[in-house]
């Protein structure tokens, strides 16, 4: 775009005032910066600065309550290595990620494929699966706690009708995490449905028609057309979903507070408690960076697996 800063008239040399006007005015070389400035300032102050400051914090022994800070290098990171609760929370997060990610991706894909076909009431059916997504964690958690209550909960009642013994879902080590996984699947599968649906819209319908003429069945079409063409979407969904699962917090905060017996203490809950209940900000910041690193590593692995030919 060479039109930027084109002189209005080349006849006479412009006065100083005109030149200043042209430089600072609309169409001058500064114009693009006027556009980006509001965002750039906010981005620098509330994003870039905290990002770097956070890295610095992770090298401090910072007690917010006492207001003391001391530079301890990698001390926080080293301390994490021997923090039993940190390792436990890492393990619990891994369990949550491993249970929720495949469920959410596969169920999301299946429901997107199903609700992409033409049928009566397609939109309401589709939107039923997406609707929970728009509700806040705390609301979702309160609704589910009520459903999962051991004595008056409706789930245990329904199970008892079928002769199945109900459980104290949120207060048993074996069940609490599973209950949170199920609730999370219910709550967030809609996001993946939406992403897959968007991806599906971009597959040319002629491909399907051609395949049908060639006598391909639904199974063939899925494996040979839909899935390969959906690969960029699949990659995006896998990476984003896994990242989301690593960041699980609200449900745990609302439903179990990390319990029972720390069986649902996930990384972010541990971080929250360290920073905002025990006010050890340095240690909390270090945990944030460890979490970030873990997410980056797993995202890179997924990219390698799902996109071997072209990494663009």
């Amino acid at each position: 775009m060479a039109i930027l800063g084109v002189p209005q008239s080349g006849a006479r040399t412009p006065s100083l005032l005109e030149r200043i006007k042209r430089f600072f005015g609309d169409g001058g070389p500064l114009t693009p910066y006027y556009f980006i400035l509001p965002h750039l300032i906010l981005f620098s102050v509330f994003f870039l600065f905290p990002l770097l400051h956070g890295l610095y914090l992770s090298f401090l022994d910072y007690d917010f309550l006492r207001g003391t800070q001391k530079f301890i290098g990698l001390g926080n990171y080293r301390a994490l290595m021997t923090d039993r609760l940190f390792w436990l929370s890492l393990k619990n997060t891994a369990i949550f990620v491993l249970e929720s990610t495949p469920l959410l991706v596969i169920l999301g894909l299946a429901l997107a494929l199903i609700t992409n076909q033409s049928m009566p009431g397609k939109i309401p059916i589709r939107m039923s699966f997406v609707a929970p997504l728009v509700v806040s964690t705390s609301a979702v958690s309160i609704i589910w706690r009520l459903i999962l209550l051991p004595d008056v909960g409706v789930l245990n009642y329904i199970l008892s009708v079928f002769g199945i013994q109900g459980q104290n879902w949120l207060n048993q080590s074996g069940w609490a995490m599973f209950a949170i996984v199920v609730m999370t699947v219910w709550w967030t599968v809609g996001f993946n449905i939406l992403l897959f649906l968007a991806g599906l819209q971009e597959i040319p319908s002629q491909l399907y028609e051609a395949a049908k003429i060639d006598g391909a069945n639904g199974w063939d079409i899925f494996w040979r057309i839909t899935l390969p063409l959906l690969r960029p979407t699949l990659l995006f969904v896998c990476i984003w979903q896994m990242r989301g699962s690593f960041l699980v917090f609200g449900q745990v905060f609302m439903l179990t507070q990390g319990g029972p017996f720390n069986s649902t203490r996930v990384l972010l809950y541990h971080l929250y408690e360290t920073a905002f209940s025990f006010f050890r900000l340095g240690s909390g910041a270090a945990m944030g960076w460890v979490l970030f690193l873990i997410i980056m590593i797993f995202s890179a692995i997924q990219m390698r697996i799902l996109e071997p030919q072209h990494l663009d």
């Binding site: 775009m1 930027l4 609309d26 169409g27 070389p29 114009t31 693009p32 556009f35 980006i36 509001p38 965002h39 750039l40 981005f43 102050v45 509330f46 994003f47 870039l48 905290p50 990002l51 400051h53 956070g54 914090l57 059916i125 939107m127 039923s128 997406v130 609707a131 929970p132 728009v134 509700v135 806040s136 964690t137 705390s138 609301a139 309160i142 609704i143 009520l146 008056v152 009642y157 939406l194 649906l197 968007a198 991806g199 960029p232 979407t233 995006f236 969904v237 960041l247 917090f249 905060f253 609302m254 972010l268 971080l271 929250y272 920073a275 905002f276 900000l281 945990m287 944030g288 970030f292």
Partner: protein, 283 residues
């Protein structure tokens, strides 16, 4: 025309069965909401009854009144807070992000690719990395427990810039050049050509931002302190402690928080799928 062969009958039977199953699943999926509403209109006695009643036998609306009266923090105020914050965040993000996105997409300037690269990279950084330093920053700026603490960090995000840039890049160049030749200023081109053409993307971004702001939980939980500043999600978490076993009141409170977003979502759902497709968000 399909003939009535046994195979065809079998096929249409499985198809019908599959459809019924799907509808049943969809119903099951929304049933927690239906259960929430059912509980919200029950008396306390009926709510604790086993076996439960699916539709309240004694239908009362008093819970919705009681919930505002008895909560130790003003729930109506929380509702207002959520409305104000979400609205400002949404308008702010759309304005700030669209301005920046336009420049990154259509104007040339020094450092453009580097700056946009940083913004793009920032999208990968998860929230917890900032949680603590942002808290300290807000504390240092003396903004803890204010609307600004909820609004400003939201406007700094790179997601909107990324999403709208994708969209602006798709606007045919001729349209913008035409404005340029007519002597319009870039701001004029932005407001009267680029923005109107981008309505779907703006609505999509607006909806995502609004829902995100309305449901935001961790950040408000950290920076808000006084009951009258609470947004709904945070208020609900306190609410749970206060009305731990008053199920009808709890559910009335939760209904107040959820029904508005469900309505907005139902109205705007067509924009969501369309917008994701248009903006190339899915990868």
């Amino acid at each position: 025309m399909s003939r009535l062969s046994p195979l065809n009958v079998f096929r249409s039977f499985t198809k019908a069965f599959g459809y019924v199953l799907l509808v049943a699943c969809a119903f099951l999926w929304v049933s927690p909401f239906l259960w929430m509403l059912s509980m919200a209109f029950k008396t306390h006695r009926e709510a604790a009854r086993i076996p439960p009643t699916w539709i309240p036998e004694e239908f009362i609306t008093d819970n919705f009144v009681q919930v505002f009266k008895t909560a130790s923090f003003p729930l109506d105020r929380a509702f207002l807070n959520s409305c104000v914050v979400s609205a400002i965040v949404t308008l702010g993000v759309v304005l700030v992000a669209s301005l920046a996105a336009f420049a990154y997409a259509r104007l040339e300037f020094k450092g453009r690719d580097l700056l946009f690269g940083i913004i793009l990279a920032s999208l990968m950084v998860p929230g917890p990395v900032f949680l603590i330093p942002q808290y300290l920053l807000i504390w240092r700026l003396n903004l803890l427990d204010t609307y600004s603490s909820l609004i400003l960090p939201e406007l700094a995000g790179g997601f909107g810039v990324f999403l709208l840039r994708q969209f602006f890049m798709g606007i045919p160049r001729d349209l913008l050049d035409a404005g340029r030749i007519d002597g319009c200023s870039w701001f004029r081109i932005f407001f009267s050509i680029a923005l109107p053409l981008s309505k779907p993307a703006l609505v999509t971004l607006g909806m995502f931002t609004f829902l995100g702001a309305w449901n935001s939980f961790t950040w408000p939980l950290v920076v808000l302190e006084s009951p009258r500043m609470m947004t709904l999600p945070v208020a609900l978490s306190y609410f749970q402690g206060e009305f731990y076993s008053s199920y009808p009141l709890l559910m009335a409170g939760v209904s107040i928080a959820t029904v508005p977003v469900l309505i907005i979502f139902t109205i705007g759902q067509k924009w969501i799928v369309e917008g994701i497709t248009l903006s190339g968000l899915k990868g």
